[in-house]
């Protein structure tokens, strides 16, 4: 797998408390990776190297785990992660059109991040909110019973709010 990202400016100091707590606890590799991702928003290669050194787990093994689970990312993501549910209930209720509307609105495809760095679009397996189908989850919030237009409005509102807050 080719990893192309500039990972300058990764502050490995931030990782130290996590490693101090978990490095010697067996079976905690996934927990460490989750905490690492919570710090940086993704898994920088330099951090993975650091984890390998601290835990004694081979770098190849760590890479194996990091690429196995869909939660882990080796690239930075936008401020808002939009997860578009691809579950069955959403599928029969039009998630395809919904995903298309979001792609059109943001100008990005599944797995990509918008140019302004605000949004990352990701198609995911069932979110378990089938009663709200079709549904999306933005960071930790679920939005349901969507149409293409409603979804467009939601991301427009978020973009507007974020930009106003930045002023």
């Amino acid at each position: 797998m080719e990893v192309t990202t500039t990972q300058n400016g990764v502050d490995l100091e931030l990782l130290k408390p996590v490693l101090a707590e978990y490095a010697k606890v067996s079976g905690s590799l996934i927990t460490i990776l989750q905490k690492t991702q919570a710090i940086y928003g993704y898994l920088p290669i330099s951090a993975l190297t650091e984890i390998a050194a601290a835990t004694g787990v081979a770098p190849a093994k760590i890479m194996g785990v990091a690429t196995f689970y869909t939660q882990f990312r080796l690239e930075p993501i936008g401020k808002y992660l939009i997860m578009v549910c691809q579950g069955t209930a959403c599928h029969v209720n039009g998630s395809e059109k919904l995903a298309q509307a979001l792609s059109d609105e943001l100008g990005i495809q599944d797995g990509e991040t918008s140019k302004d760095g605000l949004f990352t679009l990701k198609h995911v397996a069932c979110l378990g909110c089938c009663s709200l189908a079709p549904a999306i989850m933005i960071n930790d919030d679920v939005y349901g019973n969507l149409t293409g237009d409603k979804a467009r409005k939601i991301v427009q509102d978020i973009a507007k709010k974020t930009k106003e807050a930045a002023k």
Partner: protein, 616 residues
Amino acid sequence: MKIRSFDDLKQYKKSLYGNKKTAKYTVLVGMATCGVASGANTTMTAFEETVNELGLKNVTLKRTGCIGYCFLEPIAEVIDEQGNSTIYTKVDKAKVAEIVSSHLQNGKPLTEGVIKPDMQRINLAEVKPIQKRQLRVALRNCGVIDPESLDDYIKYDGYMALAKCLFELTPNGVIEIIKRSGLRGRGGGGFSTGLKWSFVAKENAPVKNIICNADEGDPGAFMDRSILEGDPNSILEAMAIAGYATGAAHGYIYIRAEYPMAVKRLKIAIAQATEMGLLGDNIMGTDFSFDIQIKLGAGAFVCGEETALIHSIEGKRGEPKMKPPYPAKRGLWGEPTCVNNVETYANICPIIIKGDQWFNSMGTTKSPGTKVFALAGKINNVGLVEVPMGITLREMIYDVGGGIVDGKAFKAIQTGGPSGGVIPYTMLDTPIEYDSLVAMGSMMGSGGMIVMDEDDCMVNIAKFYLEFSVEESCGRCTPCRIGNKRLFEILEKITNGNGTMDDIRKLKELGRVIKDTALCGLGQTSPNPVLSTLHFFEDEYIAHVVDRTCPAKTCSSLIRYFIMPDKCIGCTLCARVCPVSCIDGERKALHSIRQHECIKCGACMDACKSNAIVKR
């Protein structure tokens, strides 16, 4: 305080009732994920503000879990002193004001937007005859108690089952009760829970483990999430009972990271129970100790398989391994391990308190008890229902589920997610239980039920599930990694209108080979969606390859959009929304679609206000 004996617990429960006079009205707001996404936070805030503003002293506000009527969220229930309940639906800010002024201030319940569910909840302390169609055993506390309050759980006989085990039953006695109850694993296969526990108990090992599988990955199932969000303590208590019965001291809850609210409530519950001495060292003053850790999944469907799940807890890639040895012999860290799913645990406390005979008086002989189903898709009453096993599909869809959306024709129901299959409209009177579903080529799975109507193409549905299986295959065994990919490609070819009769033959053959040769349960069942749709709807497959048509008009390569000359009013709406500008026509004149440029997105059909656009 810490609970140090059975009497302590009973006393404490009593004190919870004795302390303060109950308010005249209790208002419950359903605040599980579905409720919150539909605006329950606003509803709760509105109640708080209004009640404070008016200085109402006789009202208690309480947050609670899912009541099951997800399509009517946000839901608020008002219970008066006599225990009369009024359930209000779609409660927005304006409705809150109405409820407060009419019901809470003047004692006049509103009559509009109110539901009376055909549902009965079991009460741990007493036995009542079954009178309603829905019977809540696993969901008994969801929508009743405050999931973030241990006191509230104890008020409803929480931790009484654990106390009964610790003070009145031997570990073997507990296992015997569970065995006799006939409880079968609610996560998929339907293995006897009591037998599983007895295997772990038999092992002679210094350390054993209890795992709760909350990696609910089946698309279309959300009952485990609802139980964890609505009644987290019942799972902790049942895990401790399993620990006592099997001789294990450590519990792990493996839960999807996609369920942040459930994780939060579990953490609160573990902290509160440990503080009270109901978990941790020397539970209730006995020499039994049991701790519980939460392990967050990292997003892999295959981790619902128990050996893969165990690898994931160990921090490895979540790949399954050959069985035997089963986890009961060599599981987590090579130690005997008992893995059960959330809903299975949710049944344990009622069985302990009310007895095995009570439990197997419900449901059918081979599948006793109740089952929670997640109804979704093209059905009116989308939500969670719990019914005795053996209910027929017809009752499920038309009585409990309220029928098909827009009165369309019911075509099939999908159960068991990517491991299951479809049950067609011809089998409406088949009872739903583990064995009848398997006989039909499907399976219970975790209980997701996706209802499909005449507009859903069975080939497309099979393709949808195969796409899921291809994406989620862990890649360890060849039949699943490569075989499913080939199945998917053939299905794609058929839905694109390039299939042949030979492709249909290949689907059947390859499907059977994967079933026989894949490594884990998920791989072995992954061709089920194809095989079962082929079995019941082969005519639809044949229509795709011979007639080159999609009877349900779903597969875009096989359909065309037309504008009906008699209905088109020339409003130009369709031409304006067409993303590829392939619709011609002057204002107030008939429009037409340039077929070879059309991408069949359907935008024109959605936009047309005079229903002039049809697909064929």
